[in-house]
């Protein structure tokens, strides 16, 4: 049992791969088939390329504000690989990588950040909730989804993400406590990327780890090396089993780092030092995982080059498509406020259309 072996109150952190991709904790190395390992790596890579490209587009004025994932790919892909298709992902707003793995298309993802609600109209059977902007509130949704899953015997869990900053929010507390009381099959991953915008982790809470906050809810809490995709996979696998057995939620602190800016409107040089970023670059989750796969002979330089080429093209093509989608139609902004449009809203729409027509004619 991983969850009982690493006590956050003793500042223990769970790791499988060190930063050179060496297995340091053989006992806990998860058994993952090769295809899945490669799929995990590829999705991490795609997320990374999409991220870097989006930043370029944004700097060119072609993309709106978005929240980069860079550096946190392992904390997102490990857990997703440990889930079943019918499990739910309940993201905060920095989980583009996790969403990709769970079936949100790159086009949808880009479309969302491009400013179009269609980007959250996920495909049938993709159990992912839309990007959640109001911090903390998604924990309650996840708890509710999990509870519903439990009493309807769906044999599925809900996995929610939140940031280190988000744990200060009352909704985090209420959601975790609620889920714990009713043993809802919830897994909450705190991506502790050391900052909430400019606010460092130490100004967010006085607790030495985020994981120890689990004590308040009478549930297991564990700190994991969030840049270690195998550790993240293994711990979620175990938390999922617990949850499905009816033992309730688990709190997982993924100790990681946001390599990029908070969003594209943010200038991180104001509040953090280059050396700090450089230091964390050496712990890059992609490099580490690539080394592991290379050691396993599942990956090599040629494959890497080909993959990079393929993804650059894919990302470019996708973004062009998104760009070509243009503006949102008038119908769309009225139609989805209710299942059926109320008569007064219908009249508002007609009045506005009449105005548009009239003002066009003049």
């Amino acid at each position: 049992m991983i969850l009982t072996s690493f006590d956050p109150l003793k500042k223990e952190q769970f790791q499988v791969l060190d930063k050179d991709g060496k297995v340091v904790n053989k006992d806990y190395e998860p058994k993952i088939d090769d295809d899945t390992l490669i799929h995990m790596y590829k999705t991490m890579s795609l997320a990374r390329v999409a991220d870097i490209k989006a930043l370029q587009y944004q700097r060119q004025g072609r993309m709106l504000t978005f929240a980069p994932v860079q550096g946190q790919e392992a904390a997102q892909i490990g857990p997703m690989a440990a889930l079943d298709k019918k499990d739910w992902l309940v993201p905060a707003f920095r989980e583009a990588a996790a969403m990709l793995y769970k079936g949100v298309t790159l086009e949808q993802s880009y479309l969302y950040w491009y400013g179009n609600e269609r980007g959250s109209q996920f495909d049938e059977g993709v159990n992912v909730l839309p990007v959640n902007v109001p911090i903390g509130s998604q924990i309650n949704h996840a708890s509710g989804v999990a509870y519903a899953s439990k009493i309807q015997k769906q044999d599925a869990v809900a996995l929610a993400y939140i940031g280190d900053g988000g744990t200060s929010h009352g909704e985090f507390h209420e959601g975790m406590n609620f889920a714990a009381v009713y043993n809802a099959p919830l897994i909450t991953i705190v991506q502790n990327n050391q900052y909430a915008i400019s606010t460092p982790r130490a100004k967010q809470t006085k607790s030495e780890t985020i994981a120890q906050k689990a004590v308040a809810y009478g549930i297991p809490g564990i700190q994991v090396d969030g840049n270690d995709v195998l550790a993240m996979y293994a711990v979620v696998k175990e938390a999922r089993e617990r949850a499905l057995k009816g033992d309730g939620p688990t709190l997982i602190e993924a100790f990681t780092y946001r390599l990029g800016p908070h969003t594209t409107s943010d200038d991180p040089t104001i509040y953090r030092k280059d050396e700090e970023v450089e230091e964390w670059k050496t712990k890059d989750p992609l490099i580490r995982f690539r080394k592991y796969l290379t050691n396993k002979k599942l990956w090599n330089k040629d494959k890497e080059e080909a993959l990079q080429e393929e993804y650059k093209k894919l990302v470019n093509d996708t973004f062009k498509k998104v760009e070509a989608s243009g503006l949102v139609e008038l119908d769309d902004v009225f139609k989805y406020n209710y299942a059926e449009m109320p008569r007064d809203l219908q009249k508002q729409k007609e009045a506005y259309e009449a105005y548009l027509k009239e003002s066009e004619e003049n």
């Binding site: 909730l129 309650n140 509710g144 209420e174 959601g175 009713y182 406020n337 209710y338 008569r343």
Partner: protein, 327 residues
């Protein structure tokens, strides 16, 4: 048919829907084991078990937020907020999520849930137990808001609310929870959300009210029986989406509009109704539309509440004033 109070009618509606539809779940602070502080959910846990009827921790954001999650994953939650004045910690969930999830996901995720809350004054209650917060829901696109004034409507609206694909705020005028009984059909029936009811036809003036104010207004009309004022009385029943057609048609006929509400004065439902009367019936108005409301003050504690409460006397007074208005 049985003679039921408004409170019992809601209880019956819940019981009936829970029986019929396994996805209906009921919860809130003390709503499970003891059946709520007003006993609206009494008997349900015993009948339907702890999975479907349960007590929650004291955490309104969790109550609403969990309901949203449940609704997205196949349940039809009916969540109780113990008093409307305690909905504020859950308001974030109501506004930023319940009201928006369908639009946000372009139809992929609806939130078919009901949030029940007793509201309103006149019960000599503690602070925060007497407010009328309709505006805070009706102002938010994506929400529905219904308020019954009779046992019959209470049952029919609750059934409609549970079956509605969108989030419905169900405000219960607790002052008349047990004030009177009415014949209520045993079988399932719905009162359409979004339809006002013309309680009494008339030609001289349109009077609009809802919730506990319906009763006060009816008492006022009784008082005025000999005054020869031909009032058309409308019970809104749904506050959002509001049935402007019924109200404005009436105003066009009568030329006079009075709105009775126990909200504070500014930015109440009355102000939107009066504005609509202006926008759409200006040329029919024979007098300025009027309103009887509370004042723009914090609802006083019981020993001062009477200064704020709208009562039949004040309503009657204003009806007379409006009837006598001449340009």
């Amino acid at each position: 048919m049985a003679e039921l109070t408004l409170l019992q009618a809601i209880n019956k509606a819940l019981e009936q829907q829970m029986e019929k539809d396994k996805s209906v779940v009921v919860f809130g602070e003390d709503a499970g084991f003891e059946g709520g502080v007003f006993r609206v959910t009494a008997g349900l846990q015993k009948k339907f078990g702890e999975d479907r009827v349960f007590d929650t921790p004291i955490a309104e954001a969790a109550i609403v937020g969990n309901a949203i999650g449940m609704a997205i994953n196949g349940l039809k939650p009916v969540a109780e907020i113990q008093f409307s004045g305690f909905m504020f910690p859950g308001y974030n969930q109501i506004v930023t999520h319940a009201a928006r999830m369908r639009n946000r996901s372009r139809g992929k995720y609806g939130v078919p849930m009901v949030v029940r809350m007793p509201y309103g004054g006149g019960l000599r209650a503690l602070e925060h137990h007497s407010e009328s917060l309709e505006t805070l829901f009706a102002h938010i696109p994506g929400l529905k808001l219904v308020i019954p004034s009779t046992p019959y409507d209470a049952k029919g609206l609750m059934i409609a609310a549970i079956q509605d694909p969108d989030p419905v705020i169900f405000m219960e005028p607790k002052r008349i929870y047990r004030a009177f009984k009415q014949e209520v059909p045993d079988q399932e029936y719905k009162v359409e959300i979004g339809k006002a009811r013309v309680v009494k036809k008339g030609e001289g003036m349109t009077v609009v009210a809802w919730g506990a104010m319906m009763r006060e207004t009816q008492k006022a009309l009784k008082r005025l029986e000999k005054e020869n004022i031909d009032v058309e009385l409308i019970d809104l029943r749904t506050i959002a989406p509001l049935d402007y057609d019924t109200v404005l048609e009436s105003v066009k006929k009568t030329g006079r509009l009075l709105v009775v509400s126990e909200q504070v004065k500014s930015l109440g439902i009355a102000s939107e109704l009066i504005t609509r009367a202006n926008e759409e019936a200006f040329l029919y108005l024979e007098a300025p539309p009027m309103r009887v409301t509370g004042h723009d003050i914090t609802v006083p504690l019981p020993k001062g509440e009477h200064h704020h409460m709208v009562d039949e006397k004040r309503i009657a007074h204003t009806i007379k004033k409006l009837a006598n208005y001449e340009v």
